[in-house]
Symmetry: C2
């Protein structure tokens, strides 16, 4: 008998029929004798519907109220899933973020988890019930409802799995695992059987929308095995775990594990700011104070005239309006002449543990893009990935060229 | 400067545009210098939508989960109303039932308020914000979400008004006050300017859907003046207050203040139960244990054979399925031969303080109904009302006959 966390995303609970299927699946595991904790997202489309309502009342609505609003999506699904489990003849009980107590900071709309109290969940499972927890939501020190940001239910699931010391955290989603790239873009994409936390982290942060980045960080930190699989089939999906658990079995792994792309970036360029110590710090401190995460940063020293420089950076599209507002305030103080905004950009990336021991991978990436006539606007690298910012119109072309170029194309039909 | 509680029902917050109007109205009061606490219901239709979802998972879904589900309706409206107020340039902050702390018992789907802590609301108003409270919801001792039952937002509003010692509790609704009867049924109905708690209590409990009965009980107990008025006009509505505050100014009041009808009743008849001491107690104890409220009760002694009797009672239609289930269990234990159910009944009632000092009012009611050929199935009376259960098909006929017969018809067009 083991303790299993099962997390279902928005498409898996999109309507009554699918919630029924989720309940059947969880009931089966429960009847096999396991303790089951279920984490659910809002029905797909619901969070967008709620946030659209909020935006009827201003471009940048009060984030505290946004969270009180958005948290209702998961609350609805949690209650319905508990009811569906009861209909399957299984005892069940829903818990909300503040009932569990998922304690977060007060960074509304993108709160970070501080601690999770496993007591209440333990009481529910000990009493023989499946515990259905509303994902995505928490509560701050003052009892305010918070949410963890987009995809936060994955984070809830893995963090709860860590808090209750679960044997595995199963993430059920609308795809049957992690692929070498988006199959919609490159039909030759293959499903990956095992992937390391590190690689998954890079893939997640680069826009492979299967798992939220923070959930992978937490899984890695606490050593929670994560199984990404389809809620519509019984097929094994992709196991995300530590490198040492699978590398010996996978001698044939490619140098590059996957190709990712992220359309959710926007580029801001501050033209002609003063080229003096402290100026860049002033800009990015203002953004940090506003809780806006920066991805790529490029400073073009010496352009735009004597003593002046251009500063370019990327943020998520969701932060663009807020970011423009912050720069509108801080820009004039550092002599900014002009603010250029480009949201027609995409970041394509290659990821793989093998890069550590193989030289020339980045150079090969640049060559493959150049061969298709694609201009690179910015580059960033880590130990196991290389990312390039390019014009959004080249997305599919770039992804396919890299997937083929690095030998990732599916060569045979396999039953997996 | 006064402290004003303003409560808006489902039709008043049915969509974004109406929430905007609610915000404008509250903002105006706030800018006049008053402290404002707003109580909101779910958008109209939303609670029904949520409960219909729950009923997809069984005829009698777990009430605890029903409440977690239903409470989201008011949570959405509270957050949106706070955002709308902010857009009007007024500071605002939403609070949920468990945040205020509206402590209730654990009778899910029809919980009763135990205590309300006014501290948090006080903090919000003291900080200069309008406090927007989600109506209808509370929390029990164990942190479970509870709801107060249909129309519970009125109860929330009046109870909060009492807890924070508000000067007035304004109930905004889709009608512009309390009428002598339903104007849809009797076009000659008139708006009542002042009504006593006692009369309002009888009218509310008899199905005049303007105010929930418990809200009037609480208003009476704590002496909270209630102003029922339209959210779509500035006209004065109906003031509900203690008798001594208005009787001298209203010498012309009719003996009967209003005619009410309630279609939300269903009649259950247990045929041929044992006519012995303790039998009736057994039946109604079982119903009480199941938290089912009984309205009228008739025991026909000696019918149905020697030593047998019939027991008839009415419950709300919402409790009918549950009631049938309870009787299905307890009935055989008291020798019940047959259970008859009739949900095609209506209760019509006349209400008025003047009845105390006028004899023959009940007799006149029976005559007026008899004159229309309407058979009376059950009768119940109190000091200031008389109710008759009749076949539902006679509803309109009966209401109009009583309204005219007791001299309530409008005789002139008045601007009020």
């Amino acid at each position: 008998m083991s303790l299993v966390v099962m997390k279902f995303g928005g498409t898996s609970v999109a309507n009554v029929e699918r919630i029924r299927n989720v309940a059947k699946r969880c009931a089966k595991v429960r009847r096999e004798g396991h303790d089951v904790v279920v984490i659910v997202s809002a029905m797909s489309g619901e969070t967008n519907r709620l946030l659209a309502l909020a935006h009827e009342f201003g471009e940048v609505p009060d984030p505290r109220e946004m969270d009180a609003l958005a948290a209702t999506g998961e609350q609805v699904t949690a209650a319905l899933t508990a009811l569906a489990l009861q209909q399957e003849g299984v005892q069940a009980r829903s818990l909300l973020g503040h009932q569990v107590r998922v304690l977060t900071d007060d960074a509304f709309t993108k709160a970070r988890i501080r601690t999770i109290d496993g007591t209440k969940i333990g009481e529910v499972t000990k009493a023989g019930s499946v515990c259905v927890v509303a994902g995505f939501q928490g509560v701050d020190d003052h009892g305010n409802i918070t949410t963890l940001g987009r995809g936060g239910s994955d984070t809830s699931a893995v963090a709860i799995a860590a808090a209750i010391n679960a044997d595995v955290c199963e993430i059920y989603t609308d795809v049957d695992g992690v692929y070498t790239t988006d199959p919609n873009v490159a039909p030759a994409a293959r499903k990956i059987k095992h992937i390391s936390y590190e690689e998954m982290l890079e893939l997640a942060s680069l826009g492979a929308k299967v798992l939220q980045i923070r959930s992978v960080e937490i899984a890695m930190k606490y050593g929670v095995p994560v199984h990404v699989r389809s809620s519509f089939s019984d097929a094994e999906g992709t196991i995300v775990t530590s490198e040492d658990k699978f590398s010996s079995a996978d001698m044939e792994r490619m140098t590059v594990a996957g190709v990712a792309y992220d359309k959710n970036e926007a580029k801001l360029t501050l033209r002609g700011v003063e080229d003096q110590p402290g100026v860049v710090a002033k800009i990015f401190s203002a953004l940090a104070d506003a809780n806006i995460s920066i991805d790529m940063i490029i400073q073009n020293v010496g352009t735009g005239g004597a003593g002046l420089t251009d500063v370019t950076f990327t943020v998520t599209k969701a932060d663009l309006a807020h970011g423009k507002q912050v720069i509108g305030e801080v820009g004039p103080k550092v002599g900014m002449k002009e603010l250029l905004v480009d949201d027609q950009v995409v970041k394509v990336s290659i990821v793989g543990l093998g890069m550590r021991s193989h030289a020339g991978i980045a150079a090969k990436m640049f060559q493959l893009l150049a061969a298709e006539g694609i201009n690179i606007q910015a580059i960033s690298t880590s130990e196991i990935k290389v990312s390039c910012l390019i014009a959004a119109k080249y997305t599919e072309l770039a992804v396919r060229a890299l997937h083929t170029g690095f030998g990732l194309d599916k060569t045979e039909v396999r039953e997996e």
